[in-house]
């Protein structure tokens, strides 16, 4: 819909209470304090933030409720949180602390019924199916299980359709192979996913410049997310939390 503004979304990764950035889901590098980053993104009138606790996903620990509540209270933009949510009660606490959207990844692989539970309570609009996709040796796309840190036998499109049928209102599609790679989005995957589901798709993984975001939208995504380009700067990838001016984001989709 051309009247709906497309979103350019910083995707922040949380680990041990700090922000990190990974490459191909490995080698987390510390990039700063989350509250400080949120304030910078507030001042830049950022459309939306995605915050993923990669530690909670991996270790199965609880979300850091206090920190998330502080972050959400600082956010004057919608916040989507994912990481460590395995139950309705956990999601309730997060929503009560100001999180707009709940992203579920590994637990939706293990227990797809969780999506239906969350959707029943919060409405589909607040439930995001986060799906990581990794290509196998033969190039076949499979759903990656971030908790177990390995690929599953699931087909990404079918998995997404299943979760949408159960009540997910949005798909956050991340490419493991492109994460932190600066090689551009996986446009083919984005196009196929956008065609396979009736809900908005947020594309993530591989952005190296703003023009890549436009390409993801043109491929069918409703929004484009990125990590590296909003936390690193320059050829040596020095840490710098930044976001383009409001007008240049507007210009991008004109």
């Amino acid at each position: 819909m051309n009247e709906l503004f497309n979103r350019v979304i910083p995707c922040l990764l949380l680990q041990d209470g700090g922000l990190v950035k990974t490459s191909r889901f490995r080698r987390p590098r510390y990039v700063g304090d989350p509250i400080n980053a949120i304030r910078i993104f507030n001042d830049k009138y950022v459309d939306e933030l995605v915050l993923l606790d990669i530690q909670a996903s991996r270790t199965g620990s609880d979300p850091d409720y206090d920190l998330i509540a502080r972050i959400a209270g600082e956010c004057f933009m919608p916040l989507c949180y994912g990481g460590g949510i395995r139950s309705l009660d956990q999601a309730r606490r997060l929503v009560a602390s100001g999180v707009e959207k709940i992203a579920v990844n590994s637990p939706a692989i293990d227990n797809p019924g969780l999506i239906a539970e969350l959707s029943q309570e919060f409405g589909a609009s607040s439930v995001v199916a986060a799906i990581d996709v990794k290509r196998g040796l033969l190039g076949r796309e499979r759903v990656y299980h971030p908790g177990r840190r390995r690929s599953t036998a699931l087909d990404p499109l079918r998995h997404a359709q299943d979760l949408v049928a159960r009540g997910a209102g949005e798909v956050f599609l991340n490419s493991v192979d492109r994460d932190g790679s600066y090689s551009g989005f996986d446009l083919g995957l984005i196009a196929r996913m956008s065609g396979a589901v009736s809900v908005p798709v947020i594309a993530c993984g591989g952005a190296s410049k703003l023009a890549d975001m436009r390409a993801a939208i043109d491929a069918g995504a409703s929004a484009a997310a990125a990590g590296s380009i909003f936390v690193f700067y320059g050829p040596h990838r020095a840490v710098l939390i930044s976001y383009p001016d409001y007008s240049s984001v507007q210009e991008l989709f004109r």
């Binding site: 459309d47 916040l79 707009e100 309570e121 609009s125």
Partner: protein, 202 residues
């Protein structure tokens, strides 16, 4: 004092922070005494209509809120589900709404090019005289929406702002002291702050 009604649903922290940011005196409370002592009220909410109505009923605040809304006629702003709950009911649930004004909450039909939920930033067109919007804005004010249902007014004159998502729908209503916004001002940075500032000074 603006009281943000806490009935266990919705993101009250960001509403409170944004009100404070625009210099309004505000607090979050689930007590009937605070509701009665307020100058203005905000009814927040996200999620499922039936769940929201049940939680509101469990809070025991419905009679007090009705008194403030319909007898004391204090300014009340419903946000998202809060707006929808002020209507007679919703296609999302068999549970009756508060029914403070003649309106009903309907579901968006899915159609080619229109994905439901309507999720993201969208611009609105204010009706003449609508008190929460900027009528001299150089470009349309934009807000963040997350919803699958929208409010349909029995009297089109109650519509305070229109948004287009495939078809036009009511993005905000205004009926005497009753205000509702379908979008989330507390998540609409600059534009949302302006709406809350106008409500605080209305």
């Amino acid at each position: 004092m603006i009281v943000i009604v806490d009935y266990g649903v919705g993101n009250v922290a960001s509403v409170l922070n944004m009100l404070r940011k625009v210099g309004a005196k505000a607090r979050v409370s689930g007590s009937a005494a605070d509701v009665a002592a307020s100058d203005k009220l905000i009814l927040p909410g996200i999620g499922h209509f039936g769940h929201g109505m049940r939680k509101l009923a469990e809070s025991g605040l419905v009679p007090s809120l009705r008194e403030q809304a319909l007898v004391q006629r204090k300014p009340i702003l419903g946000i998202c589900l809060g707006m929808q709950m002020m209507t007679r009911g919703s296609e999302e649930s068999g549970v009756a709404g508060l029914g403070w004004l003649d309106a009903f909450t309907r579901r968006f039909s899915e159609s080619p090019g229109r994905r439901v939920p309507h999720m993201g930033w969208n611009s609105v067109r204010p009706a003449a005289g609508a008190r929460l919007f900027d009528h001299q804005a150089p470009e349309p004010e934009r807000f963040y929406f997350v919803h699958s249902y929208f409010v349909q007014m029995a009297d089109p004159a109650d519509t305070a702002a229109i948004c287009r998502y495939g078809d036009e729908f009511t993005a905000a209503f205004e009926h005497d002291n009753l205000f509702g916004v379908q979008f989330h001002p507390e998540k609409s940075h600059l534009f949302g702050m302006n709406v809350l500032r106008r409500f605080a000074s209305a």
